[in-house]
Each structure stands twice: as C-alpha cells, then as structure tokens.
C-alpha cells in the first residue's frame, strides 16, 4: 500500500532529515515508527501525504508514484489518507463536532452520517460531553483525541498518526489503541509515529526505527532498563 524506495529528504540549507529510507507497508498492516526526537518521523509522514516533496527517491501509494500527481488532483491522494498531526491543526473557534465533521463534509457526506459518526467517535474516545465545546477550550489531551477522531472519521484507507498519545494518560491511550485496532480490522493501513515504547512493546506489529534520519536495522536496544520486557519487532 505504502512503498518508500531510497527516499532522502534534505531541508534547506543543510538539515538531512531522512536519508535512503526504504520500506513498504501492506494493506491492513499496522506499523510503528520510532526514533529519538528529531529522528525524522514527522518528516517521513509528511512525505507520504505529500505535504513535503522528497529530495530524492520514490514514494508510492497503492502503486502510484505520488510525485506524479498534479497539484489540482492532490485531493484524491489526501482523501485516501487520514493524518493526525503532531500539532493537531484544529480550528480553535469551531466546536469539537465541527472539527471532526470537516473531513466528512468535504466529500459531501450526509448530515445524518456525519452526526452519527461524530458521536460514535467521541464516545469511543471519552469526549461525549465536549461535543459542542470550542476546540480552544479543551485540554491538550482532549484536543489530541479530537485530532485523531478527525483523521479516522471518514474511514480513510491509510491512517498516519503522529505521536497520537503524547498528551494522553495510560488509560486513554488504551482507548485510542482500541480504536486503531478496530480500524485495522476494516483493512485500514496504519502508520503510527511514537516514542512511547509501552504502546508497541506489547503488540506483535512491525517497528521501524529511525536514527538521525537513517534506518536503524540493528536489533533494538532497550531505552531504559525497566522497559526491556517484550519487544517483538521485526525490523525490515
């Protein structure tokens, strides 16, 4: 579904955020993307949704080179992808419901569908009571969940979640991961960038490790002694 072949990204003038990254993710697969702060996780996700162009290399979504999509047709790509941004990108004055509805409104979903889906997502994420609250009046963790809800609302084929649990406590993290699992059952492809080992340690999913923009293919070293419990990652 998502294929990267020797992708390099250099920010002007001299920051090499990624170099020669190669991996592919199959349909319905869930992949974790980890690495230290500044390793290039966000950059990688931006390349996949063509927010940034790669300096070198090839990015393919469903077998199509996305660099070839003309600017006017970019929306076809973007509709396939739901991205939960690390900085949320919520509209602060709009209500939670309106923020989530955006991704469905643009494809002219029926109002009844939008309302049902919004309520369902908010319930799943424990935000029922915030339906009509403006996004600016939410706590950071609540905002983060709204950003996730918006990303997944319209059942995109690919979900890119950038640090989706950075502001969430353990229990709320479980809810979010539950939501992702459910989507995976619907054959959604998931790429989750995170630095929190606890959310991937216990899962049998693949982990892609970045280190200063390079793909780290060595066997994973436990970051802190207490966490070296169960790491079942199959580094590509």
């Amino acid at each position: 579904m998502v294929d990267l072949i020797k992708v390099t990204k250099t920010y002007q003038p001299d920051v090499t955020a990624l170099s020669e990254i190669t991996f592919s993710v199959n349909r319905g697969e869930k992949v974790f993307l980890t690495g230290r702060s500044g390793a290039g996780k966000t950059t990688l996700l931006k390349l996949i949704s063509r927010i940034e162009p790669p300096t070198k290399g090839l990015v393919e979504i469903a077998g199509m080179d996305i660099a070839r999509i003309p600017r006017g047709k970019l929306y076809t790509l973007r509709r396939k992808i739901g991205m939960a941004y690390q900085d949320f990108k919520l509209l602060p004055e709009r209500s939670v419901a309106a923020n989530i509805a955006i991704s469905m409104e643009i494809v002219y979903r029926k109002n009844s569908f939008i309302q049902k889906r919004t309520r369902e997502l908010l319930e799943q994420l424990g935000l029922q009571s915030k339906l009509n609250t403006p996004a600016a009046e939410l706590s950071r963790g609540e905002q983060q969940r709204v950003a996730i809800a918006r990303a997944v609302a319209n059942y995109p084929e690919i979900i890119l979640a950038d640090e989706p649990t950075g502001n969430l406590d353990a229990e709320t993290t479980q809810r979010v991961m539950g939501l992702f699992k459910e989507l995976q059952r619907r054959d959604t492809t998931l790429i989750i960038a995170t630095h929190d080992p606890s959310i991937y340690q216990e899962q049998r999913d693949r982990v892609i490790r970045l280190q200063h923009g390079l793909q780290d293919t060595s066997p994973p070293v436990p970051a802190r002694p207490s966490e070296a419990v169960a790491q079942v990652d199959t580094v590509l």
Binding site: Y75, R78, L91, E93
Partner: protein
C-alpha cells in the same frame, strides 16, 4: 450541486462566525463606493453646470456696413465652415440702437440727439459649448477678424478666461482625487482581504490537507466577496443618494441650485458601478486564495 450547497452553507457559517470583520469589510466597500461615486457625481454635475454657465458665451463681430442678404449668407457660410456654432444672429444698426436704448433704461433720453445709426451693425456668434473651448474661442475670434468688412471682434474675454480657469481647476481636483481614491480603494480592499485571509489561513490549509478540492475551498470566498460587493455598493449608493437629497434640501434656498440644474446619476450608471464593484470584490476575494493553496 452539492458543491454549491456546501459552499453556500460555508459562506453562511463563515459570515455568521466572523460578522465583526464582515461588517468592517462591508463598511470599507460602502465607503469606497460612496467616495468614488461622490466624486463622479460632482464631476458629472460640474459638466452640467459648465454647459449651463457657458450659455451666454458669444462672440460679437462688429461690421462696417449692414450686410446685404447675399453677404449675410456668405458670412454664415464662412463662419460655419470654420467651426461648429450653435447660432448666428445678425444685428443691424437699428436693432443695435434699440437694444442700447433698452439697456440704458431711464437714461435713454441721452440718446435723443443721436442719429439712430451711430452704433455699428454686428453678428452675434454662439459657438458650440465644450469645457475646453477657451482656446477654440480665441482661434475663432482671430479667424473672424480676418473676414472682409469686420471692424472688431469682441467677446467676454476676461469672464470666459476666469470661468474656464475655475472649471479647469475643478477638473484637476476631481481627476487627481479620483486617482488617489482609486488607489486608496484598491489598497483598502486588498488590505481587508488580507486580514480575512490571515484569520482563515489555518482553515484553508487544513481544508487542503484533508483533501478538499480547490473549488470547494474557494467557492465560499467567491460568494462572500460577491455578496459583500453587492451589499456594500448598494449601501454606498444609498448613502450617496441620501447625501445628495440632503445637499439639495440644505441648499435649496441658495442661488446655487436655482441657477444650475442638479441631477443624480442615471440608473444605468448606478447599475454599472454596482456590477463592477460586485465583480471586483468577488474576483479579488477569489483570487486572493491562490497564494494559500500552494501545497
């Protein structure tokens, strides 16, 4: 279909959410239209007044002899060949004496001892009116001087010069202020749009990121701009009309409006101005989104 209805919904919501800045924009547009059309109205009426004022403008050509009818024809032909005129009147010695004695009024007794042919005959020529006629009249006068049998050509030179100077001054003021105002208006509208865009940049970027088509993003701007242009120019025109009525009332007692016919802009002009404003606002608003839709 769904695009249009979505766009309408968005436009409505945006305008409801940002009614403060919407009012600002509306006010800007109204004010600009008001200013512009006010100057246009002033110029328009200036032209009317100029025509009215020029009405008694005429050249008096003194002749040495009362011309015979064929000579009269000859004069008429020659004058009309040189430039367009509104009317040519021949005044004989008798007519001149009669009008002089009328002018003297109660003092006409002084003419009793004079022969009724002591005043020379003349031709009174009223040239066609135009606001630039000063030099034309001079040239006309010079030409008439060369005709055979002409003693002297006389016209209200000083009066004409002064009058046309004033008209010219008005014209310069109107044209220059017109230019300055067009600059200002353009600038203000651009400014307002920039402000609106700035406050909605985040939203536009987001819409682009979640996969909205360009038309979906831009249509509300087109509608909003058009709506504001229409409403704003309507309000501006309304304000201008009120101002005009107020001026008429305020100065109805003075000599100004007794002397000059004043009229409001014709409906076609109003319609044209409003249409242009609406189009400009719609297009300005629409095209301003271009920069934001880069990535």
């Amino acid at each position: 279909m769904s695009l249009l209805s979505a766009a309408l919904r968005h436009t409505g919501r945006n305008m409801a959410n940002t009614w403060k800045s919407q009012l600002t924009t509306l006010f800007t547009v109204s004010l600009s239209i008001l200013i512009f059309s006010f100057f246009y109205l002033a110029y328009f009426n200036g032209l009317l007044i100029g025509q009215e004022l020029g009405d008694d403008l005429r050249l008096i050509v003194y002749l040495d002899e009362d011309p015979s009818p064929p000579l009269e024809e000859e004069y008429r032909r020659k004058i009309e060949k040189f430039d367009q005129v509104e009317s040519i009147t021949f005044v004989s010695r008798q007519q001149a004496f009669a009008s002089f004695s009328r002018q003297l009024g109660d003092d006409r007794d002084i003419l009793l001892d004079l022969p009724p042919d002591f005043l020379p005959p003349s031709i009174q020529v009223s040239p066609i009116k135009s606001l630039d006629s000063l030099s034309r009249i001079k040239r006309f006068s010079d030409y008439l001087q060369t005709l055979p049998g002409v003693l002297r050509v006389q016209y209200g030179k000083e009066w004409i010069e002064r009058f046309y100077s004033v008209i010219q001054l008005i014209k310069i003021v109107v044209i220059l202020s017109g230019c300055l105002l067009i600059m200002t208006t353009t600038f203000m509208v651009a400014h307002t749009i920039r402000l609106t865009l700035l406050s909605r940049q985040k939203e536009l970027e987001l819409l682009r990121l979640v996969g909205a088509t360009n038309n979906y993003i831009r249509m509300p701007f087109l509608l909003e701009g058009g709506f504001q242009g229409l409403l704003g120019s309507g309000l501006g025109m309304g304000a201008l009309y009120l101002l005009y009525r107020w001026l008429l009332l305020r100065f109805s007692g003075s000599t100004l409006f007794e002397l000059f016919p004043c009229s409001f802009l014709p409906p076609a002009t109003i319609a044209l101005l409003m249409m242009v404003a609406t189009l400009l606002c719609a297009l300005g608003s629409f095209s301003s989104t271009r920069k934001t839709l880069r990535f």
